[in-house]
Amino acid sequence: MKGNGVTGNANPLRRVGALVDGARDWWEHAKAWQRYAVYLGAVVFALILPAPAIGTFMSPGSDWTTVLIYPIGTYILLAVGLNVVVGQAGLLDLGFVAFFAMGGYSVAYFGTEYGWNYWATAVMGIAMAAVSGVILGAPTLRLRGDYLAIVTLGFGEIVRITANNTDEIGGARGITNVPHPTDIPGVVDFGLLPAPYYYLIVIAIVLVIIFSVRLQKSRVGRAWAAIREDEDAAELMGVPTFKFKLLAFAIGAMIGGLAGGLHAGRAVFIEPNTFPFILSATILAAVVLGGAGNLPGVILGAFVIAWLPERFREVNWLKDLLGRDPAEYRILLFGGVLVLMMALRPEGLLPSRRRKAELHEGTGGMGTMGAEVTGPDTDVSTEAAK
């Protein structure tokens, strides 16, 4: 890619890239116990993450545990879900927030109107999201690339506007007094303290990661990869491509719905504006920035995208430098950092090797976006030599 030629070896992120490749090689050949040690380490890390000592650095401006739940944890959950659609099956979805909304509204509506148990409403939210995923996917997944992107974008807006205009679910005022998750006696009480919600979302993220990895390594994941690379050849090799694309949509939607349900159960209040288009775009940015198709990358991308704006709330040296509160400029700063990162690592922070090659070739994934970023100067051979 051109960018690499310009920045050359002086680019420190290149050295990071080499480190990442090394780590990946190690991981591929790691023994079972080594892998379990890493998993264990990751879980321990997640458990001690809310510690105030870490929080004072990570988010001096607001309560760290709360930030860990929303936006960070929620974005990670959403990004892992969208990654199934965009990263694994290669379908560009610009309306992912719709499924987040389905989950949120299901929990809020069935909890307040019918007094359902929270856990039942959460399951309902996942189911509603899956159904809406299938309803959206069935007529549209025969479209390719750009068309699919436009239809999904429209769907996201339709869901939000419908919520806005439907009085049964609160209209523009939204739904208040959404019940908290039902307590599990002797284990955990869900009240106003953030900690239980944090651990709940950690459990959700871990489960979703396990499922996602298992899918990727199975017949399902292979079918998605085949569709991404050459849909016609896949179909001729016996892959029911439409069915598998629909499945990707439904699974992505379920994860989005789960995130929505968790969010509504903690936030107590949701309204149509909780689910704006910009959130779809942000999650897509997290997936692409992190490295679509590669879970650690996607998680890192979501973390960075969720965390940076929080971090920029309270930056004292910037305050001194600018002479005013950088909080006003945090979105601008955030945008600048994103542009910088994409310029330095165009394939994402931690791209999967395969996706990286696909992006270089301009095949596969994200509709025709892959094709549009490449030109005659695309250098496939460097990738092939690796």
Binding site: R214, R219, V220, A223, A225, E229, D232, L236, M237
Partner: protein
């Protein structure tokens, strides 16, 4: 006579004004190696595309083991027992050789999202069987050492063999090979000839498109010749070779081209 494996019944395929196939009649018996030859643009690949469901014939019928398959979905035709390779190699380039073949093997697997996410026993069994089959097939086509290599990094000849392995993984009764020798050196062609025989001997029928005449003459039981979408000759290899219409078709084209 037993039912033909494949039968094209007056198949016509039009693309706008272009008639790629004109009332083509082909009948292939079980266990045959049947070659389809003809000048460039004669409609050979179109036959494959019509048989595998890529195109629906404008007129006529396609019968596989006596049942009509034109209009059937592509992946279903594959499951019924027809697999193919491509004139321009269409592997899943960024997957390993083994994974490519496993996609073919998956054609007959049942695991869905639930089996995979819960890591259920039948899913594990299918994975294991698919992996074993893929290994065997890479060995069968003669590239056992390429298992973990990324498809696009393989030499050309090996990519062609990998395509054959991937097609075989779907367990086809009828295998369609579109110019499998293109880009191969003489030694590779020799090996390919042996491979095609081996495939037939394992109980499959082979339909072969090939420009290399020595390969066609050496391996096929019967040969059909297409010219401008029309079948102009059919018979034993040496009969076709000496057929004046065939000679004319080939010479005629080279005259046009010059």
């Amino acid at each position: 006579m037993s039912t033909p494996v494949l039968q094209l019944d007056n198949v016509t395929m039009r693309f706008g004004g272009v008639v790629a196939l004109r009332e083509a009649k082909i009948s292939i018996a079980p266990g045959e190696i049947f070659a389809l030859i003809g000048p460039n643009g004669a409609g050979k690949t179109t036959v494959f595309n019509v048989v595998t469901g890529v195109y629906q014939p404008t007129e006529g019928q396609v019968l596989f083991n006596g049942t009509r398959i034109d209009g059937t979905k592509r992946f279903k035709i594959t499951k019924l027992g027809i697999a193919r390779t491509f004139q321009n190699i269409r592997l899943f380039h960024n997957m390993s050789a083994l994974e490519n073949v496993m996609v073919g093997a998956d054609a007959h697997h049942k695991t869905g999202a639930i089996g995979a996410t819960l890591n259920l026993p039948w899913h594990r069994k299918e994975e294991k069987r698919g992996r074993e089959l893929a290994r065997e097939l890479l060995d069968f086509v003669g590239i056992p050492g390429r298992m973990t290599e990324t498809a696009k990094n393989l030499p050309y000849g090996d990519q062609r063999r990998l395509e054959i392995a991937r097609a075989l993984a779907t367990d086809p009764k009828l295998l369609l090979l579109d110019e499998p020798a293109a880009g191969m050196n003489p030694a590779e062609k020799e090996a390919l000839q042996a491979l095609i025989r081996k495939i037939r001997d394992s109980g499959r029928t082979v339909l072969l498109i090939e420009h290399d005449m020595s390969l066609v003459m050496g391996v096929s039981d019967r040969v059909a010749v297409l010219d401008f979408g029309q079948l102009i000759a059919e018979g034993l290899p040496h009969e076709v070779q000496t057929n004046p219409r065939v000679i004319e078709a080939y010479l005629g084209v080279s005259e046009d081209a010059s």
